[in-house]
Subunit: 381 residues, 2 copies
């Protein structure tokens, strides 16, 4: 009530610099204030959207040509913050689950978007899982608050945007002919990410090496189950100019994984083994680094804490993504100046991006100076 | 150069919304821009100041009636950020060491105060130790950037200022008569902190309990060297309504301390054992919580990370302080909504505070809404 009154005074301009004594309010005047106060509440809306992938996307377990996303908006005081849940099917969320979850989110109980800890604790407490839907609220709230502040988050967080890493560009598992074509298409990118974890791993790397000597990072998606085999493979990959290995072994083989990391010439990164803050603690001593993804960790607030936590534990950080619009990518890229590795190519893989934001310029993650998450809406949805 | 040009356009108002083509600049015009650009650099100044304590202050090892501090300012674009180094003699810094350190800090090489990570990494790299002098730069920079953003840091960090804890008020070691008087003087405060670690510990607590049943927290300052004796004392303190025990044993007795924490009915807090981020990792599994102090951890940037790190490790957080002006206290209190315990009475103990900021209202840490660290200068120095 006090808050609403103050906001009313600030925005109405009726009272100038005068001090308002609550006692002088008539009932009808107070009623007006309440109505205006109500307009200052946050309003969350959401809309299903389907991303069209430029190429069929293949990982160790499946192929697909679209990705369902949920686009969100939080409106407050005439300002709109944009958010997104990207939901590749193997993670268990969908248009239906996200709509069901987001319908339960009642932001009208909060009249101050700055109370991000309280608001996002509430969103997290509504139901377990639904991490992408939660991220869609978190991202929109960050965009909103950053716009109110008038600054992009990378600045508020004290980062230097010239220090962003180059992004890797993913080459899916395919025939040697197609892999070669994809590597040539990836000419603008300076680091390639190869998906491994099948019996064609060496062939895949040799095919890439037959056309380029660019640095390669590999994602094994838990594909190797024997630690000695895994170490032999990593030693071989090291000789081929590979720079790091993501999730080489099943996430449940913790002791094997710790042994592998201790003996590996290349840094190892937790991916499937890692979702949220407690997983970073568990990954310490088991992996050399972590791959943070907004859709798995519930958004920027937790991602920022995970980044600082990993640094405190002397672990490296990779920022990952799903196929997604520029909304999620620009949001995550706000953290990029402090990350050693970026795998932020998700928006480059789609044909119907409704936003423009962070760009890849000469392979490097390149942030805009627009406030919030640095986004512009360029297409109706 | 690009930055300077943009700032000039923004502040001069000469060019309105016109797009400036670099090629049209004449040399003399460009020269003016450089001069104006130079004015946009950060300028650090500092001044020694001596706090007069209202009462002689006694801890386990010494007594004193003044505390030397160094007051700092960072000026940028006509905005001033205030900072402070508080240097109780037992920590090894002084007016001389701080002046020597701060003379080496050259902020004129940075033209963007938002690059806080880079700037504070540079300050930290100049020399080892000097943590209070480093904090004096960090606090002034936070005040400056918060003022540019137009928001207090607790809001930027997403906290709810209604959630601050009550502060404890320290009762020094003294005769029963003086202790009783001090407890009565502490009427406005709802939690008392007793300094223990001498052979009069039980008498001290019984004296306090003879006049009040307020919750007590105790700071042993490493005073107990036998773990079984320490556990017996803690069990006794628990019966007397004590809520937590700070640094019961010497910081070097790590195994004893871990055993004590495991068996203690009260949470244990690391104080002397804790300075910066790596110490939080070391304290995990050894203590239940940490006492963060700006003058030991180099300032708000690291304190904020330590708070998040402790929460990630399921450890409690106490915010502590030295005797200091409202500058340091208001700065630290920006983190208070997320801390379980506050020991922010340092400015209440001095008679010549040049600032007003965070207040203690009915015992509770009460933040202002002023931007930056929430401070107003009320007295020349």
């Amino acid at each position: 009530m006090k808050q609403n009154r103050r906001n009313f005074i600030k925005t109405s301009g009726l009272l100038g610099g005068a001090v308002l004594t609550p006692g002088i309010l008539t009932n009808s005047f107070a009623k007006n204030i309440n109505i205006i106060g109500d307009n200052k509440k946050m309003k969350l809306t959401f809309k299903p959207y389907t991303l069209e992938l430029k190429h069929v996307f293949t990982i160790a377990t499946s192929s697909r040509s679209t990705t369902p996303v949920m686009l969100t908006q939080i409106e407050y005081d005439g300002i709109i913050g944009y958010g997104e849940a990207s939901m590749p099917p193997y993670l268990g969320e969908s248009h239906d689950t996200a709509a069901k979850f987001l319908s339960k989110v009642d932001l009208s109980q909060f009249n101050d978007p700055f109370k991000m800890e309280e608001i996002l604790d509430y969103v997290d407490s509504i139901e377990d899982k639904n991490t992408a839907a939660k991220a869609a609220v978190d991202i929109a709230l960050h965009d909103l608050v950053g716009k109110i502040i008038g600054q992009p988050w990378y600045k508020v967080w004290g980062f230097d945007k010239t220090k962003t890493p180059k992004t890797s560009f993913t080459i899916g598992i395919d025939t040697p002919k197609v892999v070669k074509e994809k590597v040539l298409e990836a000419a603008p990118y300076h680091i390639l990410k190869a998906k491994l974890g099948r019996d064609t791993d060496k062939q895949m790397i040799e095919t890439i090496r037959s056309v380029t000597d660019k640095p390669i990072v590999v994602d094994v998606n838990q594909g190797w189950t024997d630690k000695h085999f895994a170490l032999d493979m990593i030693n071989w990959l090291d000789e081929k100019g590979v720079k790091l290995v993501e999730q080489p072994m099943p996430k449940t083989q913790i002791d094997d994984m710790a042994w592998l990391t201790e003996n590996s010439p290349l840094p190892t990164f937790a991916d499937e083994a890692l979702q949220r803050i407690p997983d970073v603690i568990k990954a310490h001593g088991v992996y050399s680094g972590i791959n943070i993804k907004l859709m798995k960790c519930t958004g920027l607030r937790e991602a920022h804490k995970m980044l600082n936590l990993a640094k405190s534990l002397d672990m490296q950080v990779m920022l990952g993504c799903m196929t997604a619009t520029s909304c999620s990518i620009s949001a995550m890229s706000q953290l990029a100046p402090e990350a050693e590795w970026a795998d932020l190519d998700g928006n480059l893989l789609i044909g119907n991006d409704p936003f423009e934001g962070t760009l890849i310029v000469d392979g490097k993650v390149t942030l805009t100076d627009a406030p919030g998450i640095g986004l512009t809406k360029v297409r109706a949805y």
